[in-house]
Amino acid sequence: MVKPITSVVIVGGGTAGWITAGTLAARVSTQGHSPTITLIESPNVPTVGVGEGTWPTMRSTLRKMGIRETDFIRRCHASFKQGAKFARWATGKDDDFYYHPLVQPHQFSQLNLAPYWQAERQQASFSQAVCPQEALCEHGLAPKLITTPEFEAVANYAYHLDAGAFSEFLKEHCTQNLGVRHLQADVSGVESADNGDIKAVLTGQEGPVEGDLFIDCTGFKSLLLGGHFQVPFRSCKDVLFIDRAIAAHVPYPEEQSPIASHTISTAQDAGWIWDIGLSSRRGVGHVYSSAHTSEEQAYEQLKQYLASSVNDPEALKFRTIDIEPGHRERFWVNNCLAIGLSAGFLEPLEASALVLVEISAAMLAEQFPDNRETMDVVARRFNRTFQYRWDRIIDFLKLHYSLSQRTDSDFWLDNRHPDTIPESLKELTELWRYHPPWHHDFEHAVEVFPAASYQYVLYGMGFETRPTRAHHIDENRERALEAFRANQRAIEQLTQALPSTRTLINKIHEFGLQRV
């Protein structure tokens, strides 16, 4: 007899748990069949609160849940993120920086501007030549106007948000508007079925909670997938060395201080410092390799970084987080799927944590198994897809390190040692010495990082593509030069038209954005 999936139990209530609950509840309810969704949250375990930076995908994730962007921005102290500025990654010098913006190069679906830019690379940085977003970020401008409808953009954007407030906000929406059942209880064990499935999770407060599908959102503990099912953890510390973080909430000097609308990532001797602007405060932290520096040294560098914008860095409350870079060998076993930190974690260099939650939840919702028999097929497909995605993210993060020309510490030298670079990345890097990255370099229709991202990082880091056949005489040269000019015009127009990020955030708090 075919057993339909009628109940989903999510264990864990951080951002991963609530994003999964909201995505599933909004999606499944529109499809006619509606399994019950229960989220069990421990009243005693604090959430880790990582992932204050998102991807542009968050806009559709929120919209699909039926959330108003105005409410989200107000309640989660959110601001806009238009990409990342990487400082001191290439040479380590004071004036060394590049942008990985979220807007694609002009005409990116048809025309590869990289070879034409190479010919004139002295004129402007790659991102400055091919898209307007670097200029917007450097001017502190918002990616939209107060008249732009909710979730729509003038320049593509993501968010910086307060993860703790975000969880609370999602919880309220899921329980009040989407019919998610919320239990406050500590999971103490698992009751197995004959086929090895989880029949129920055992809780002190609510007794056994039965379900057809269990989602493990228990954070680093990985209570169900790692703990109960013993799925091995695949560390990638041999590729990505970073394993510790020191983080602090940093107040603005004044209430109306400007808000940076990009993540600032500043490389250090043995890691890098993130700097994320919310509407209410900044989130700043130093992630580093404990094999290459001491905790004291890491603290010292973080305080030095903060000294320019904070009167008394010593007075801030710092907290440390251990990071085990890597992921589980499989994510979906039997009737249990891990989403979030329970599936794995990487340094927040490209804000991959929340986007992985979003695309995991979206794939689950889109391919939601009808019954227990089809679940195994969906699970196999999920595992294949996400193994590929984790590999690509690891490659892409490593690219930031492998292209550096810094020689000032072992951390940077070790990062370029061939043994630490995945074969797949070596292969692509070799290819890109002669061919600029393009859509066909990537196998999957929906890549986590598109070819544009590789172009921005490669050419931002000073990488050179030198084709043996010269490109500059071919027929597309005129089109390319026109695209560069069009971009200059776009920069002039947009820097005139767009408000500062602080101004727009204030207006959203006062007037709200319209739905249309």
Partner: protein
């Protein structure tokens, strides 16, 4: 920017206001703010839309007068080719002083709230209508202008309540204007919004009853109905251009 001064029988004793219509008085605008109370008259001659305030993003109600900035198809030199002229146009150069109150504004009575934009090209000392009689009392012209102004002010408040209801019920949608003129280039206009007509009748019964009682339902249908005047404006453009 207007320079409002609270009306003062002594200070403004000699001021006169020109009442003819014309582009030189700033009437060459393609959108005029209107209030919901005017809809019954407006919809006979104008297409009425919602549009966003550039500074706040909030919706307001507007009559469409032309297709390009500074194009007012209702205006030919000094005449306005419609039997009804929006309150916003007629009350010029008067405005309310409540938001621009000065410190020494101690005068009592309704005229204390009325201000005049002394920088308006309508305002002069040679020609036009006087504001005050020799004894300092208001002329019938000024009394009429104050009536027009107060009609507009009270209309603005109730219009905002009506628009807030439209927003709350998610009834506003972009008006897709894609116009093929004979002589001009084909143009698509964005920034104008209208009401999702088919969703009006789908409102919950309790809401419908309340909306009908408050007049929101009638106002909504009047706005939908008014869009027919766009074709009239297009025809006029085509006639004028040819």
């Amino acid at each position: 920017m207007p320079t409002p001064e609270i009306l003062d029988p002594k200070k403004h004793k000699d001021l006169r206001v020109i009442t003819e219509r014309g582009a030189q008085y700033g009437e060459n605008i393609h959108l005029s703010p209107v209030v919901a109370d005017e809809l019954r008259k407006l919809v006979l001659e104008y297409a009425v839309f919602l549009a966003k305030d550039e500074d706040t993003g909030r919706f307001g109600l507007y009559a469409l007068l032309g297709f390009e900035p500074k194009e007012n198809l209702y205006l030919t030199r000094s005449s306005w080719n419609a039997s009804y002229v929006p309150l916003h146009i007629r009350r010029q150069p008067f405005l309310t002083g409540t938001t621009h109150k000065t410190k020494n504004d101690t005068q009592e009575g309704p005229s204390a709230l009325v201000a005049i934009d002394v920088d308006s090209p309508r305002v002069n000392r040679e020609s036009g209508e006087r504001l005050f009689e020799e004894d300092g009392s208001q002329t019938s012209f000024l009394r009429e202008m104050i009536r027009t102004l107060s009609q507009m002010m009270s209309g603005q408040a109730s219009t905002q309540v009506f628009i807030d209801q439209l927003v709350e019920q998610d009834l506003i949608e972009p008006a897709k204007l894609d116009i093929q003129f004979t002589e001009r280039e084909r143009r698509q206009y964005s920034g104008l919004y209208t009401i999702k007509e088919e969703r009006l009748s789908a409102l919950p019964e309790a809401t419908l009853a309340r909306w009908s009682e408050k007049g929101y339902l009638q106002a909504s249908y009047l706005i939908c109905f008014s869009l027919g005047h766009i074709q009239r404006l297009v025809d006029q453009v085509n006639r004028d251009d040819s």
